[in-house]
Symmetry: C2
Subunit: 340 residues, 2 copies
Amino acid sequence: MVKSPSSAELIGQLFGGDRQAAARLITRVENRTDDHQEIMKQIYPRTGHAMIVGVTGSGGVGKSSLTDHIIQKFRARGQTVGAVLVDPSSPFSGGAFLGDSIRLQRHTRDDGVFIRSLASRGYRGGLSRATYDVTRIMEAMGRDVIIVETLGAGQDEIDVVHIAQTCLLVISPGMGDDIQAMKAGIMEIADIIVINKADLNGAENCRRHMEAALNTRSFTQGQWVPRVIPTISVATKPALLRGIEALMDAIADHQKFLHATGAMEKAKLDRIEQELGHIFRDELQKLVVQSLEQTGKKETYIRHILDGRSDPYSVVHEILRTCIRQENGERGPTRSDGDD
Amino acid sequence: MVKSPSSAELIGQLFGGDRQAAARLITRVENRTDDHQEIMKQIYPRTGHAMIVGVTGSGGVGKSSLTDHIIQKFRARGQTVGAVLVDPSSPFSGGAFLGDSIRLQRHTRDDGVFIRSLASRGYRGGLSRATYDVTRIMEAMGRDVIIVETLGAGQDEIDVVHIAQTCLLVISPGMGDDIQAMKAGIMEIADIIVINKADLNGAENCRRHMEAALNTRSFTQGQWVPRVIPTISVATKPALLRGIEALMDAIADHQKFLHATGAMEKAKLDRIEQELGHIFRDELQKLVVQSLEQTGKKETYIRHILDGRSDPYSVVHEILRTCIRQENGERGPTRSDGDD
């Protein structure tokens, strides 16, 4: 049997850019091994320097082929790329986008591209946090650019805004009502609005809609005005692709804008604040689970609620008091239960 | 100006079945008014008696029209219905399914139907909890049956299993790969698999797939074997609808099964356990936010992380120690920071 390398060894290899070490460390962090916090602590100081681009949008708009082209363009410029593909809609797919392995296969022989898929499985309530961790690991690996692709679905769609410095919202013509619904708020997260499948009917209409929606907003001087970029990311031959270069230019312009205005720092602080929140929730939950198990009264509590003798709010407050006392090392006389 | 009624008044009206009172209380609980926990505590003892049916599936499978028919059938049998429509994919739609108001409009004049839509907006990380709360309020209102419809998207798709006693998974022919992906696990949450749009090509194929997938699982004696029910919930005339009665029978059979085997109690305990977890997380987070604000050091912490002088894990542990000390009313000499 081959002894599996220690996390310290893997971290050393990670800093050297080793993909296998990265993959293994990600797995350890995902699985919440005993030393996962220690791993993240050591990795942390080596992070914070990558360009992070978010790609979000509903299913079927061609996000993946777009991501694929973006990766290629960055590679052509000599930059190394990490990509995190987040699919919150696949709770059961076991950690992989449908078909992404096929789609992004051509990159697998390129050491400069490192791809990791995250589905909801195993991340109950924690897919966002996993995304943050994986992004950090890719940074520590030395990737120049990190792309975080998320299927537009609830929480995670919003979270990409906090991780990414430059956020692409990908839509396609014919989404109809969806776009109407989006207008209200989702556009506000986008630095660049990509109208993909621009060869389809309705693309021009879609573009007008987007620009009209942008025009209803007032931008103060010094504020970034989102660009609308039509693209064709799937075509029978390369000559029929459109807009990818324009998109790359828009990304570069937005990055320049962030650096020039100090907004980049704000983006980085925002990312850290979100990260802190995720870690907090996780740690607190651990505390509660431990305490509940220590009391050995979980079943009793639940049954009391079922029987109408208590309610979850009263139980939570009672347990919190107990758990806080214990965490603080006080196991003296218990306080009266009636003082809440 | 009309004085808004007190929560106590509204709760009284709620127990009398008042829809407006229910709507107002839900809004208060959603908005986390100061007394929202008190509201829920008072409501709690009046809950736990409704039949709860979950309806989940991807977009476009016809969940809503199916829900619509189910509501009608329950109403025709004289039962009152509450419906919670959860759309985790609409973070920005401001609390309403696209078009559900139109779709379910015909019920609005029927006092026996009370519908509430929940989108992700305003529920950062808390859409599931909101769903639990709204379900309880509808129970306290005296609804006989509660339908929880969720768009199949990640976390919330799983959560419906814990709220609902009887869980319907709705699929439609032509979902192709999706179904393959689902097979692995999503089918395990379904008590009844509804193949909607059964008039479409591939319906028979789809049914065979589902049944084959079920056959690969081994069911022990006394375990519920999921039913596969083909339906047509959208048709140009009522005579073309199919399978709705069969579906109602399957729901009734599953409910009988739950009662006969004691599985109903298990379902109810499971629901409470999940609820406890949600409330816990919420309360803990409040604790943290309060503590962070009290320390007044949030910005400093974040900047230290940005500057590489600290990392989020160390910060979280430091704050936790502080916050736990404070919660415990100890503001004496601070412990050394180096003892972690």
